[in-house]
Every structure is written in C-alpha cells, then in structure tokens.
C-alpha cells in the first residue's frame, strides 16, 4: 500500500494470494467477491477486519482474504467471534460458513448469537448440502433429496428456515442474498456490517457438484418486492410465506446491541483483593 492514501482500499487489497480449493462453478467464489467488494465500499483497513469460520468448503474463506482470520473447529465460529468482538470492540468482525456448520453442529450458538446481539455479521453460504464430506444432507436440505448414502430416500425431515429461526431467536437484522449477484450481495453486506448488533445474511450459494439442480437458482432469485420491515410480526409472516428466493434486507429491528463492559478501569486489583483481608485482630 506504499505511496497510496490510506483511504483508498480497492477490492484487491482484501484478497490474499491463496487459490481457493472450491470446485468450478461454486457459489462461494461469488460470495468471496461480494465480501471484498463490501469491505472496499466501507474502506475498513484490512488489519482491522477479522473473519472467523468453522469447517466446510465455505469456511475456508478467511485464508482467501487479506484480513485477520481464524479457521477454527466445526460449528464454533460464532462463539469464537463473539469473544474476539467483546475483547476488541473496535474491530470489524465477520463470521462466515455453511449451513451444516451454522445450523447443525453449531445450531445452539446460532440461536444464542441472535439472542446476544453482539455487533458481528454472520454470513451463511447456504447450499443445502455438506460439500466437503462429499454430499450429505444438511439442516436445509429438502426431505426427499435422495442423493446421499447416509440418508437413503432423503432425510425425511423438513428443512430449517434459517431466517425465521433467527427472527425467533431475537436477531435484529435479517437479509438474503445470492452468490450469482456479487454486487447486490455486497450492498446487502455493507448494510449488514453497518447495522449495530448481530446481522445475519443468508447467501444462496449453489453447490453444482452435489446439488446440480441449484444451477437454476440464478434464475429463481429476485429482489424482495417490499422494503425491509421493522415489525417482527410482519417479518415473521413474510418469512413464513416467501419461497426462499426473495433477496434483500428483510427485517431490521431496533433492539440495542449487546453492550460490552466499559474499558474504563474503575478499581485497582489491590482494592479488589482487600475484600479477602481480615480486619485487625481483636
């Protein structure tokens, strides 16, 4: 960056030189492009961005970005990011991963991250399948999807509705985007990152290897016909009735974000220790 003004970060500034392991046609390429674009719009210095992930194809994304990153264990990205954000509130903290990582093994953390409302942005690249383990059903897979040996005849359970779950858990910013439109997804991410508190963005990101039907998604997605509501009741109704292909910011509430303790030191350790001191002998 030598010689350039520090406020001019191009999308390139946020890319690392590591080549992604993703299959040709993977939606995650589009998501990667939308993240670098969003960061360039926001002009956050790369060293002030931290991207935390778990395990899965999409969770490889931190290494492909020029930012601080943490590629942790399966399903625990949200608590790791929560700890980081509360310890270092000035950082821009993004969490990225897939539907298995976020809604199956990490499901409990998803509910509680929505509820806690710490100021982090959660990007789930939803392809309704476990790609890295070669194609098993995830919590968002259709009940009759029968392409996996682990669930012959299909998982037989209805898929989660992630946005609705998030709403019910207290999330305050809900959006859906599509990897086929990185520009549109970037604009949504900009809003999500700017939103104070927890923001959840479900990005439809097809896996052409194990879910070839998802090739059609590109034509099925369309902008949500109405603007984001601030009313959770209306949001619930919309999310119950939409066909999962409307993209845009769908709900933006006004709940205060989780407030970390002040960094101000109001007491010395010595005086805390004095609580254990015995008074003088009688």
């Amino acid at each position: 960056m030598k010689g350039k003004p520090s406020h001019a970060f191009s999308t390139k500034c946020y890319k690392s030189d590591i080549k992604p392991i993703w299959c040709p046609g993977c939606g995650d390429f589009g998501v990667l492009a939308s993240i670098t674009r969003a960061l360039a719009i926001l002009q956050v210095p790369p060293e002030e961005v931290a991207v935390v992930s778990g395990i899965g194809c999409s969770s490889r994304i931190p290494a492909y970005l020029n930012a601080y990153g943490f590629h942790g264990v399966h399903g625990r990205a949200l608590p790791l990011a929560t700890g980081l954000k509360l310890a270092r509130p000035e950082l821009t903290v993004l969490v990225a991963g897939g539907d298995g990582d976020g809604f199956a093994i990490g499901g409990n953390h998803f509910l509680h991250a929505c509820r806690r409302n710490a100021d982090i942005t959660y990007i789930v690249m939803d392809n309704q399948v476990y790609g890295m383990t070669k194609g098993q059903a995830s919590p968002t897979t259709e009940p009759d999807w029968d392409l996996s040996q682990l669930t012959p005849g299909g998982p037989g359970m209805n898929p989660f509705l992630p946005l609705l779950l998030a709403l019910g858990s207290g999330a305050n910013f809900l959006a859906r985007a599509s990897s086929s439109d990185p520009g549109g997804a970037a604009d949504i991410l900009v809003e999500a990152i700017r939103h104070p508190g927890f923001s959840f963005v479900q990005i439809l990101s097809p896996c052409l290897t194990f879910q070839p039907e998802q090739r059609k998604w590109k034509k099925m997605v369309r902008p949500a016909p109405v603007k984001a509501t601030t009313d959770p009741v209306r949001a619930a109704k919309r999310l119950m009735t939409d066909d999962n292909f409307f993209v845009g910011v769908l709900y933006q509430g006004e709940r205060d974000p989780y407030e970390e303790s002040s960094e101000e030191v109001t007491c010395k350790l010595d005086s805390l220790e004095s609580e254990f001191q015995l008074p003088g002998l009688l």
């Binding site: 590629h71 980081l84 805390l272």
Partner: protein, 571 residues
C-alpha cells in the same frame, strides 16, 4: 491432652443455616488470631438436602482435613446418614442435638462420643425469635473459646447490622449461656499473635485472583458445580478492571469465546469441571494447533459422567493429559493447597502466554470450595509475556520456526500482520498443508517449545530429604505434608515430592529430586491409579514404587498414608 487443632461440625438440612454458623465461626476465629479452615459438604439438593459445615481451628496454618470431629452440633438429624462416612466420631468427640428433633441415630450413638441434649429450638423461641442456628453458633463459640465480641463483629458484617443481627445476637447469647456449664472439649494451644498478614479466601476465589494478577482481562464460562465460584468472582471483578465476562450458552461456546479473545490479544480464562472439560477438549486442541494461549481451570469432582458433583476427586488427570486428539502438547498443572490456587493459576497464565499454548489447571472441589484463614502469600512475579512484535516488516509468518520454537504473534489491528489462525495443519505462514515435511516441522515446533523451556524450581515442591518418597499432587499434598510434619520416625525418613507441573514431564529435574530415594509411594485420589500410571509411563523411575490410590468423596488423610507405609515396612 493438648491437641493440634479443634474440629467442629455443624450439620442440618439445607436452609437450616449450618453454613452461616460455619462461616461465622471461621471469621470469628480469624479475628481472634487462629488459623482456620471451613469445608462445606452438601448433597445435590439445594433446599432441604443435607449440609454440613466443618470448621477447623489451629494455632498453625492448616494443611489438611481433620482426622476426627471434636464437636458435632446437629440442627436436625435429617439425612445425617449421608455424612456418616465423612464424619469420624470417637470417644473424644462430643455430640449435641435438640431432643425435639428426634433420637440420636444409632451410628452416632454407637461411636462412643459423649452426648448432650440441648433444646436449640426452645432456647431460640425464648431468645426473642432467633433462629436455632444462632443458638448453635453461641454454643460452638463458647465451647471453642471464641469471644462473644469476635462473633458479634462477624455477624454484624454478615447481616449488615440489620434486624437479623440483633435477634441473631440474642440467640448467640442464649447459646453461650446454655454452654457455660458444659466443659470437656480439649482445646488446642492458643494462637500466638502473628505479624503475618492473613486473609480469608477459597481456592476458587484464589484461582480467579491469580488469573487477574497474571493479566487476564477476559473470561467466559458456563455454570457448573464446583467451579461456578471462580466465574462468579471474575464476573464481578473483570468489569471493574476494564475487562469482560460472558456467561456462555455452553462449554463449547465458553472455550471458543476465550480463544477468540486471546486471538485478539487479551489474556483469557474459563473454569469448569469434568463434564465441561470433556466438552471443551476439541477446542483446546484447536488452541494447541493454532497456538493461542488460553487457561482452563478444571475444578475436579467425582466422575465419570455427572458423577458426584459436590464432592472431590483427582480423576480428571487422564483426560487433562491425554484427552486431546492427535499429538497435542500442552500444559497441565495443579495447585498444591488452597493458597496455592492463587500462584499456580497466575503461573499457568504466564506460561500459557509465553508458550502460546493452552494450560489446564487441575484444582478440585476440596481446594476450590474450602475457605481458609491463612497467611496471605507474598506476590510472585513471572517475567514471561506473550511475544508480540512491535511492528511487522516484510512478509509475516505466523508459525515461523524459531530457535525457541515460539513464533512472534501479531494481533488484529497490526498493519501487515494479517494471517489466518489455523486448526488445519499448516506451513510456517499458516497456509493449510498436507505435506509430511510441514506436519513434522510444526509437530516438532509445538513439542519443542514446551519441552525445551526451563520451568525452574516452581514446577514441584520438595520437602524433607528421607529415602522414602511420597509423590503426590493437588489436594492430597496437604495430607502428605501433615504426615511429614508429624511422623519423622519412619526408617530412613520421608521426602515429599509435590508436582505442580504435571505435563510436560520433567525427567531431569525429577531425577535430581529423587537422589537418595530408595522407594516411592504414589498417593492420589483416583480409583484407577491414574497418577501412578502416568509416572510409570512418563518417567524412568528405577526404584521400588507402590500406588496408594483411593477414590473420593472422602478425603485422603495423613493417617492413611502412614498406614500404607507401615504395611509396606512390614511386608
């Protein structure tokens, strides 16, 4: 007969106020110059279950559990049978109860203890509606020779001088009066006034304080018996110090939150017990691989599974040392006394920060939930800090191979230091790698940084120079220490080796400590001889060894260790 110490147990149903009596006696004893120790024994039921508070007084610092009970005051006899194992009564003991609460149970009557009936409830009613436990407090204070003033001052603090204080003192006075005609307790020699600064603290509080002294400013945790008090104290203290505490949704979240905070540069800790530790193991392995310093305090309880949550054991040694998948070198350490919870935790944080590795601190219920009046330890300092570069010049390699195998760690916010902390095997820059060479280099690095570090003398305590060594750790160190103090008559003499650093092994320093040792008794509170087996496999010990292991919940006593040695002598 003048004995070393006096042991008083107050028992009753949960909510009857036995613990209040115990706490008050402890603090009143402290005000009068005694060293004292309070252990609480309780079952799983919070209200109406069984509770016993045992206070021990001595003119010297107290190392271990009492061998027998001098005075048992029973508020009622409900569920008393659940304590029978833990309460040793004999013909020197005195038992006092309220006849209105029913007949003395057979086991207690048959112990040979001297029995006295005292109508606690009726006395309480006469004393203006005081609670019966205040009568018991007065009786205990009188029989232990504690001044009325010391009780009064303590109660005033407890009840903030409100109405309960006034009625409470009326009860105490009635108790003192009722006990005046009673004599027969052998009191220890009175304490000599000491200039040493004393404090009243539990092991759990001391551990929390040690963490703060070491610079911890972030903690996360999920409630679990018997570790919750570590978290409670941190939750109150951290915000005042500009730090942060988070109650997590589970232990998986707690450990990952502290990993996140530490990745951000803030030293971080959590506390849990066996079941929680089991949940955390995968992510502790992540901290090994990604080289993120964290400290996990495990306040051990009886296991396996839910086990005996309110009682002590040392049976998490195996999981703490061997529980991580893969070859995952990390630190395991254990405090050797209630006071030592302070310094061992402090040391754990400092080592963890310097070595960029997780440390598991194995405390247990007997250390964590025991309150002591003891000398306040002099503050210790360790100069080790995390190796953070001031700035980054050129290409930064997070997992760079260095002479001491510790790589400089940048923190988010530092320009040019961007990297991805990696749980996958990686090369020096942190890029995932499946190459044999990278795997070997990083495995070597993670092992060598621990193996080649000089832990100094603090890694173990040696006391005595005899040819029979007792090697032990954690809460059982106290019993061994007491044996050394009392029984110098063993042939060839005794030597106590108390390990504070359990992993990695220290073969060189251990060999030095064992010079002149002819036999070793390994003492531990586990059913499976976990520590014995660990020593056998981790050290080259060529002398005769025996294991004395016994599970919880009853603490191991000095007299049991003595019996083991006598049996060994005669076999």
């Amino acid at each position: 007969m003048i004995q070393e110490r006096l042991s008083i147990t107050v028992a009753g149903s949960g909510g009857a106020g036995a613990v209040t009596v115990g706490n008050t006696l402890l603090e009143a004893a402290g005000l009068t110059g005694w060293y004292a120790r309070l252990t609480r024994s309780s079952g799983p039921q919070i209200r109406g279950g069984e509770v016993a508070a045992t206070v021990c007084l001595s003119s010297h610092p107290i190392q271990s559990e009492p061998t027998h009970c001098d005075l048992l005051l029973a508020l009622d006899w409900k569920n008393i049978s659940r304590f029978a194992d833990e309460m040793v009564l004999n013909r020197h003991s005195m038992v006092i109860s309220d006849p209105a609460q029913g007949a003395v149970p057979d086991s207690i009557r048959d112990s040979g203890a001297h029995y006295l009936a005292m109508p606690f409830k009726a006395l309480a009613a006469q004393a203006g509606g005081a609670r019966p436990n205040m009568i018991v407090l007065g009786v205990a204070a009188q029989l232990a020779g504690l001044s009325r003033k010391s009780v009064e001052q303590t109660l005033e603090k407890t009840f903030h001088g409100d109405r309960r204080f006034v009625t409470g003192m009326a009860g105490v006075d009635a108790g003192i009066a009722a006990a005046l005609p009673v004599n027969g307790l052998d009191l220890p020699s009175a304490p000599t006034p000491s200039r040493a600064e004393r404090w009243s603290i539990t092991g759990n509080q001391a551990a929390a304080l040690g963490a703060l002294r070491a610079g911890v400013r972030f903690a996360a945790g999920y409630p679990i018996t018997p570790a919750t008090e570590v978290l409670e104290w941190l939750a109150l203290a951290l915000p005042k110090l500009g730090g942060e505490f988070v109650q997590a949704e589970d232990e998986l979240a707690a450990v990952n939150q502290i990993i996140g905070a530490s990745f951000g540069g803030v030293p971080a800790i959590t506390a849990t017990s066996g079941p929680g530790l089991a949940l955390m193991m995968e992510s502790i392995g992540l901290a090994v691989a990604a080289e993120v310093p964290i400290v996990v305090i495990d306040v051990m309880r009886g296991g396996p599974a839910t086990g005996i949550p309110t009682k002590s054991e040392q049976s998490d040694l195996n999981i703490a040392i061997h529980g991580l998948p893969g070859d995952a070198p990390h630190l395991v350490m254990a405090p050797t006394s209630v006071n030592d919870c302070l310094d061992t935790t402090h040391w754990a944080v400092k080592l963890s920060e310097w070595l960029q590795v997780p440390a598991i601190v194995l405390s247990n219920q007997a250390l964590g939930q025991t309150r002591m009046i003891d000398n306040k330890p002099a503050p210790r300092e360790w100069a080790t800090e995390r190796k953070v570069p001031d700035q980054v010049d050129g290409a930064y390699q997070r997992y760079q191979l260095t002479p001491d195998s510790v790589s400089p760690m940048t923190l988010p916010g530092m320009p040019g230091g961007q990297y991805t902390a990696e749980g996958l095997e990686h090369d020096e820059s942190g890029i995932p790698s499946v190459r044999a060479r990278d795997h070997l280099h990083q495995l070597d690095k993670r092992r060598n940084k621990l193996a080649e570090f000089d832990y100094g003398d603090y890694w173990a305590d040696v006391e005595g120079a005899g040819s029979t060594a007792i090697i032990t750790w954690g809460a059982t160190v106290g019993a061994a220490r007491e044996l050394l103090a009392r029984s110098p008559e063993f042939d060839g003499g005794l030597r106590l080796i108390a390990l504070r650093l359990l992993a990695p092994e220290q073969p060189g320093p251990m060999a030095k400590m064992l010079r002149g040792v002819k036999r070793i008794l390994v003492v531990e509170q586990s059913h499976g001889a976990q520590f014995y087996r660990y020593l056998k496999s981790g050290y080259d010990l060529s002398v005769r060894m025996r294991s004395f292991c016994r599970p919880g919940p009853v603490p191991i006593l000095a007299v049991e260790i003595a019996t083991q040695l006598q049996q060994w002598d005669s076999s």
